[in-house]
Amino acid sequence: MKNIVKEQFLVSTFFTFYLVHSSQIGIGILSFQREVSKNAQQDAWLSVIIAGISIHILIWLIYQTLDEKHNDLVAVHDFCFGQVIGNILSILVLFYFLLSAFAVFRTYIQIIQVWVFPTIKTWQLALVLGVMIYYIVSGGFRILTGFSVWGVIIPAFLLLLLYFPLRYMNPRLLMPVFNHTVKDILLSTKASVLLFVGFEWIYMYYPFIKGAKKSQKWAHLANGISTVLYLIVLVVSFMYINQDTLQHATWATLFMTKIIELPFIERFEYIFIFIWILVIIPTLCIPIWACTRILKRITNSSHFKPKISLAFFIIVMIVAATFIENFVEVDKLGKFISNAGFYFLYIYIPFIFLMKLFRHQLTKMLSKAQ
């Protein structure tokens, strides 16, 4: 079940940086401060660093799992478990990818409803977003890569915006350092892992990268920069909003942008919300693209068109979005996907790595025995 992508569909090696970074920065950065600081409070920056380092290890594991012969997750599943079980696992992963795209989809609609248009209906926004997703994903992987460049540039501008809250900062709010237990810090680490979710889509777009083996350093660089970005935003938030207030601020980053008043724009947060769609597009489209890719690979036939499966996935998302009616359910969805992501990252990725290793040794031994 070898899987070769034609030269004209490949992207350059260093684009891995954009792909990984833009998949990691998304809707989470608007609101992560509260969840992350719930346990470790002002020491939560340590948790973000720990989470970032652990993600480096996982990226290493992913690159160890994939190789020339088994260059995506479907091939690895097939190799380790055989076709039937392998395909079942692939479909489970498909569900996880779809769900993580759906969580972003629904949360962004929720943000627009809460902050800008309280009376707009979910299906209206879902439909418009759905059309947009179809348009982008049907353009193919190279278009997605192009969009992910925006997902790197715009968050970088966020750093400039941090100047405004910095004027009111109080460095004392970061102290005392290390007055929390290891357990608290680890719980916060668990909460901050969700921020880095997105790099695991490498599993599917690995064959689309030219010289994929060499792209590992770009993936690590992207993750390093994501960690630094999250860290800066977190530390500025901590200095700007004290811990007690932070627990009342659901969208702390948006709350921070409230202070920005430019002579020509009184209410900057509205512009901020709409610009953020460009950042969210990669985190929304890459997993959906990965879903269509998985489906194409397991059916492995030329008459099954990815465009049809894409339309199907988007319709499922739109319909499902309208069924989630209130903010409690949106919260629940976020919690669920955060747990699912945690287990996928820390249990499934090492598991697949070990299985691949085991299977590899087994075939080696068998061939030797013969």
């Binding site: 248009f117 109080n170 005392p176 009342h248 409230k258 202070i259 008043e261 009184e266 209410r267």
Partner: protein, 395 residues
Amino acid sequence: MNSMKASYMKSKFIISIIVSLVFCTLLSGCVPRSIIDELGITHTIGIDEENGKLTATVLYPNYTNSNKSSVIKTAADNPSTLKSNLGHKSQSQIVLGQIRTFVFGDSYSKAGISRVLETICKDATIGNITFVVSDLKAEDIIRGLKTAPPLYLSHLLETSVLHEGTPETNIHTLVSQYYGSGIDIYLPNISFDNDKQLIINGLTIFKGEKSKLTISNKEAFLFKLMNDKNKSGYYDITLPIKDNQKEKDDKQQKQHNDKKQGDQSEKRPGNENNFALKSLYGKHKITLHKKGDENTINMNLTLNVELKGIPESIHIEKKEDYEYLKKTMEKIIAKDTETLLKKLQQNEVDPFGFGIIYRSESKEWNEKEFYQTIYPKMKFSVKTELILRQLGVGE
């Protein structure tokens, strides 16, 4: 076969045109829209408490019909109903997106501002706003503003914060002081003077959600010096007469008198030894010094000042006089600040956020314990250093 393919292509083309037309209607923006002429855009709201109910008085400019502002007043049991009740009384929908200033009346700020504050925090339409407290009824303030330009109050506060030494407050500082532990809320106080002019009348400090103490403008400026980055403002100082200077003074006075030939018989208005120093910029540093049970707050202030109209008895070019002037001013500012700190301590309020400082340097933090046992016993030591940058353009 070929014709079938052609018809398939054709139908596909037509479908794609229909679909794109349908989505064009979506893209044209069927989002809820507001027409600006039909909105009552308010800039100032006053909140009072009357007979156990919340009342809101709103000032909104009426751009379409006349150039006059309208005032409406309504009462309700909760802030949300208050807003809708305002709508019932006006020809246009009242919107809060452009609101700049909230005025809390005396009765309401004494009863506790939490209810309105928490509602404001949750309202996404409200941007960066300022809050003020008044010793009068908020309604009176709003009615007094009726003839003034719509943004009068917010501009008054803005200039006062920028140039006249009122500490800066906005929704961010208020919310973090309200939810955060280890610091108390402070808000500017406004009032009318005897001529019915709106003035800023110092700073009101809250304990929890209730207003407790109002300090004067002069004290508020000291507070700003030790607390804000922007330190511009005037501080007036009455210089005590230097002992060994007195004689010289008399002599000079005589010479002066000779020159002026008896003009001195009429008393000049104002106090001879009183003058104002203009603070330009500076730095403050507050540190906590712990020694056993004793906690001392050290405040250091370095201030660059411009002097205008120093007393005639001081000859600034003389080193002796220069030192005397500088040292005396430093001492006066330090002493006044210490007096202010003690006053705050006696009233059990902590607008400086000593609690935050204490918390940042100790492993354990208990707000109640801090304010009951540690804060009342805290000692203060204030050190100021003045750098006399400019003396004006005259001689």
